[in-house]
C-alpha cells in the first residue's frame, strides 16, 4: 500500500539455506524449467496458500455472523491507519505502520457499533459510512504527503506475483518476506479457534443464549474483529483490497457444500488455497494480475458450487425435478393401462398395448421415453417385440395408483363440495403422492368408499392380491 523505494533489497545471502530447495530443483528438472522460476512459483503459491488459510478461517465466522461487510471495511480503513501513523511520525516504518493499521481496524469496529446505535442506522449502513470515511481520510493524507508514493496497483492487488521473489533470512532460513507477518497471523488465528471454539460458535449462533449463560457476546465480537483486522493487514500486503474476496468467498462456498462447522472451516481453507494457486498459475500463463485472477477464480468456484451444491444446488434440484417427472409419467402409463384393462372384456387377462400407445399414455416427449425405460428396468412393464404388457408387480402398482386417484376424488367430493367435472384433474396430480398410509387414512375418513364419484369401483389392493 504505502511504499517507499528502499535500496536495501536483500539479495539471497550466501550459505543461508532455502527450505524445499532440493524439491523445487528436482521439480524444475522434471518440467525442464529454470530452477529459480520454479522456486519463485513455489514460494509464491506458498504465500498465497498461507494467506488463503488465514482469510478463510476467520472469514467463515464473518459469513456466519452476517457481518461480511466488516472485512471490506477493515481492509479499507487499514489505509487510514498507515496514513495516520505517517502523519504522526513522518516516517514509513513497517512496525508502527502495522500497529497503526490494526488500531484503525479497531476504530472501525468501535465506530461502526457507535454509529449503528447512536444514529439508529442499520449495521450495514453504518459499516459503509465508517469505512468509506476512513478510507477517504487515508487517501487525502497520502496525497498530501510528498515523499510517499501511493501505488494504487499495490493497494488494489498487493504483490502476490513477487511474493516468492523476495526471500529473506528468518531464523537461518531464506523464506518469503511476507512469511514474517503471515505465519504469526496464522498462529493467532489458530489460537483463537483453539481457545475460543466453544465460545465463538455459541456467540455466532445464539448471542442471546450466550449472554444468559454468562458469556459476553461483545467480548467475542471484538476478539473476532481484532483477529480479522490482523488477518486483513497481513493479507493485504499480498493480495491488496481483494483480501475481501478471500475472506468471504471461500467461506460462502464452503457453507454451500456442508452443514458442519468444522467441515466448513477445512473446506473453506482448501477452496481458498485452490483460488490463490489457480489464480497465480493463470496469471503466469496470461501474464496478468495474480490477485485479480484469484478473485475471479473464487467467483467462478462460487458459481460452480451454486450449481453442484448437494442440498440446494441447481443441478441437484434439476435432477430431482426430472426424476419426479419421469416417475409421474411412468405412473400415468401404469394407470392408463389399468383403466384400459378395466374397460376391456377380459378384466382378468393382462392388457396389452403397443409401444407407441404407451408412449402416448406417458404424455409424449423425452420424459416419456425415460418413463418407459423406467418401467421396463423395474419390470413393471414387459416388452415382447413392439407389444407392452403389465407385469404382476406392474398390475399391483397400477391398481394402487388408480385406487389413490379414485380415493382422492371421493375425498374431494365429500369434503369440498365441488362440481363433478372438477374432481378428475386434482386427483390426477395428487395420485402420485398418496402412499399406502394416506390411502388408509382416506379410507377411514370416507363415509362410503366402494365407488368413486363417477360410479367406478375403487380397486381394493388387498382383496385383489388375495384372489
Amino acid at each position: 500500500m504505502v511504499q517507499t523505494y528502499s535500496e536495501n533489497a536483500v539479495l539471497p545471502g550466501r550459505g543461508v539455506p532455502i527450505p524445499f530447495d532440493g524439491l523445487t530443483t528436482q521439480l524444475a528438472e522434471m518440467l525442464e524449467l529454470p530452477a529459480t522460476d520454479v522456486q519463485n512459483a513455489f514460494w509464491t503459491m506458498a504465500v498465497g496458500a498461507l494467506c488463503a488459510v488465514c482469510c478463510s478461517l476467520s472469514g467463515c465466522f464473518l459469513v456466519l455472523r452476517r457481518i461480511s461487510l466488516l472485512g471490506d471495511a477493515l481492509s479499507h480503513s487499514v489505509l487510514a491507519g498507515t496514513a495516520g501513523v505517517y502523519l504522526v511520525t513522518g516516517r514509513v516504518d513497517p512496525v508502527p505502520m502495522l500497529l497503526g493499521a490494526m488500531a484503525a481496524g479497531m476504530v472501525t469496529a468501535v465506530m461502526t457499533q457507535f454509529v449503528h446505535k447512536a444514529a439508529q442506522l442499520p449495521e450495514d449502513s453504518s459499516i459503509g459510512i465508517v469505512f468509506t470515511s476512513l478510507f477517504a481520510f487515508g487517501v487525502v493524507v497520502v496525497s498530501q504527503a510528498k515523499h510517499v508514493h501511493l501505488d494504487l496497483d499495490c493497494v488494489l492487488f498487493g504483490d502476490l506475483a513477487f511474493a516468492g521473489v523476495n526471500l529473506h533470512p528468518v531464523f537461518g532460513w531464506l523464506v518469503p518476506e511476507s512469511f514474517r507477518s503471515l505465519v504469526p497471523t496464522l498462529m493467532i488465528t489458530l489460537l483463537l479457534l483453539a481457545v475460543f471454539w466453544k465460545e465463538l460458535r455459541l456467540t455466532s449462533f445464539d448471542p442471546t443464549l450466550a449472554v444468559t449463560l454468562g458469556f459476553s457476546a461483545t467480548v467475542m465480537h471484538y476478539l473476532l474483529t481484532t483477529v480479522v483486522a490482523i488477518v486483513t493487514v497481513s493479507a493485504m500486503e499480498v493480495v491488496g483490497l481483494l483480501v475481501v474476496a478471500l475472506l468471504i468467498v471461500p467461506a460462502a462456498i464452503a457453507r454451500l457444500l456442508t452443514d458442519r462447522l468444522s467441515t466448513m472451516l477445512v473446506l473453506s481453507c482448501l477452496i481458498g488455497i485452490s483460488c490463490t494457486t489457480i489464480g497465480y498459475l493463470l496469471a503466469l500463463r496470461w501474464n496478468s494480475s495474480a490477485a485479480g485472477l484469484t478473485a475471479v477464480v473464487a467467483g467462478a468456484e462460487l458459481l460452480i458450487a451454486i450449481v453442484v451444491s448437494p442440498r440446494n444446488g441447481l443441478l441437484g434440484r434439476l435432477i430431482r425435478t426430472a426424476r419426479l417427472r419421469v416417475r409421474i409419467c411412468a405412473e400415468d402409463v401404469l394407470a392408463g393401462l389399468f383403466r384400459r384393462q378395466e374397460r376391456s372384456d377380459a378384466p382378468d387377462g393382462l392388457v396389452q398395448a403397443s409401444v407407441s400407445e404407451c408412449y402416448a399414455l406417458a404424455g409424449g416427449g423425452i420424459m416419456s421415453m425415460a418413463a418407459l425405460r423406467w418401467l421396463l428396468s423395474r419390470q413393471l412393464l414387459q416388452q415382447a417385440g413392439s407389444v407392452m404388457s403389465l407385469s404382476e408387480t406392474g398390475l399391483r402398482y397400477a391398481r394402487s395408483m388408480v385406487r389413490s386417484h379414485r380415493l382422492w376424488e371421493a375425498y374431494l367430493k365429500e369434503n369440498f363440495n365441488l362440481p363433478p367435472d372438477h374432481l378428475h384433474d386434482p386427483a390426477e396430480d395428487m395420485e402420485h403422492f398418496i402412499g399406502p398410509g394416506v390411502q388408509q387414512q382416506i379410507t377411514e375418513d370416507l363415509s362410503q368408499s366402494a365407488e368413486d364419484p363417477h360410479g367406478r369401483a375403487i380397486p381394493d389392493v388387498k382383496t385383489q392380491e388375495v384372489s
Binding site: L64, L202, F205, T208, L209, L213, G214, F215, R255, D259
Partner: protein, 262 residues
C-alpha cells in the same frame, strides 16, 4: 429485617418496581411481581403488552430504567447459572451449520464457563435431554432440516440441558401443532413436578386454566397475578384486554416528546 423484606428474600423470583423503556418511551410501567411457589406460571396479555420485554428485562437482556430483579434473594445477575431462558424460535439463524446435538449441548456451556470443553458428562446429559423431548433420532440432523415443532423441542431440550431451577420461556407454543403442544406441556408439567418454576409467555387463553398453576395478567403494567383459579376471572381478563390505560399512552408520548424537544 422487616417481615415484608424477609418474605421478598425467600421468594424464588422477585421483580421490584421495574420500568423498561425503549428510547425513553416506557413500555413497561412499575412492574412488581413475586413468585414464591414452584410451578407453572403463565404471563398473559394482549399484543404489545410487554410480555417478552418483561422476561428479557428480567434476564438482563434489555436495560431497565429503574427497578431491581432478584432470584432466591440475590441479584439475578449472580444467579444466571440457575436460570434458563428459552427465546422465541425466530431469534436464531436456523440455517447455521450446527447439528441438533451440538445445539442442545450448548445448554451445558453455562456450567462449564469460559475455556472448558464439554466432555462425556455433558454429552450424556445432552442425549438424555434429547430423549426426553423425543428427538434422539434427529441428533445428527442440521437444525434447519427440522419442522417448526421439532425446532421448538430442540430449544426445550437445550433448556433442559441447562438444568436450571427457574425457566423463562418466550412463547414455546407459538406455531406448533397440537401434538407438539401436548408434548411440550407434558414436559413442562414434569419439570414443575420436579420442583422447578417455569414462567411461560403464553398466547392461548383457552389452555391457561388447563395447564398453569399461576397466571400473571399483563398489559404494560401488572393487572393482577395469582393462582389461576382465583385470578383468571372474566373481570380480570376484561381489565387486561379491554384496551390500554389511555393515560399511560399519553404519558409515554409526553415522555418521548420531552426527550426529543430538549
Amino acid at each position: 429485617m422487616t417481615e415484608s423484606a424477609e418474605n421478598t428474600n425467600s421468594a424464588i423470583f422477585d421483580i421490584h418496581d421495574m420500568t423498561v423503556a425503549y428510547d425513553r418511551r416506557p413500555v413497561l410501567w412499575n412492574i412488581d411481581l413475586t413468585l414464591r411457589n414452584p410451578g407453572l406460571v403463565a404471563i398473559v396479555g394482549p399484543n404489545g403488552a410487554g410480555k417478552s420485554t418483561m422476561i428479557r428485562a428480567a434476564m438482563g437482556l434489555v436495560p431497565m430504567v429503574s427497578g431491581a430483579v432478584r432470584a432466591w434473594g440475590a441479584p439475578i445477575s449472580s444467579q444466571l447459572t440457575r436460570i434458563g431462558y428459552v427465546p422465541q424460535r425466530g431469534s436464531v439463524d436456523w440455517d447455521f451449520p450446527i447439528s441438533v446435538f451440538e445445539t442442545v449441548l450448548m445448554g451445558t456451556y453455562g456450567s462449564l464457563g469460559w475455556f472448558r470443553r464439554p466432555g462425556g458428562v455433558q454429552r450424556d446429559l445432552t442425549m438424555q435431554c434429547l430423549e426426553r423431548v423425543g428427538m434422539q433420532d434427529f441428533a445428527q440432523r442440521q437444525i434447519g432440516q427440522l419442522s417448526g415443532g421439532q425446532q421448538q423441542r430442540v430449544f426445550l431440550a437445550r433448556a433442559l440441558a441447562q438444568q436450571a431451577e427457574l425457566y423463562f420461556m418466550d412463547e414455546p407454543m407459538a406455531g406448533v401443532d397440537a401434538a407438539t403442544e401436548r408434548v411440550v406441556f407434558k414436559l413442562l408439567q414434569s419439570l414443575s413436578d420436579e420442583g422447578r418454576t417455569i414462567v411461560v409467555v403464553h398466547h392461548d387463553l383457552r389452555t391457561v386454566s388447563e395447564y398453569f398453576d399461576e397466571v400473571v395478567l399483563l398489559n404494560v403494567r401488572i393487572v393482577t397475578s395469582g393462582p389461576v383459579a382465583t385470578t383468571f376471572t372474566p373481570a380480570n381478563l376484561q381489565a387486561t384486554y379491554g384496551g390500554r390505560l389511555s393515560i399511560l399512552d399519553t404519558m409515554a408520548d409526553a415522555v418521548q416528546k420531552q426527550v426529543e424537544t430538549e
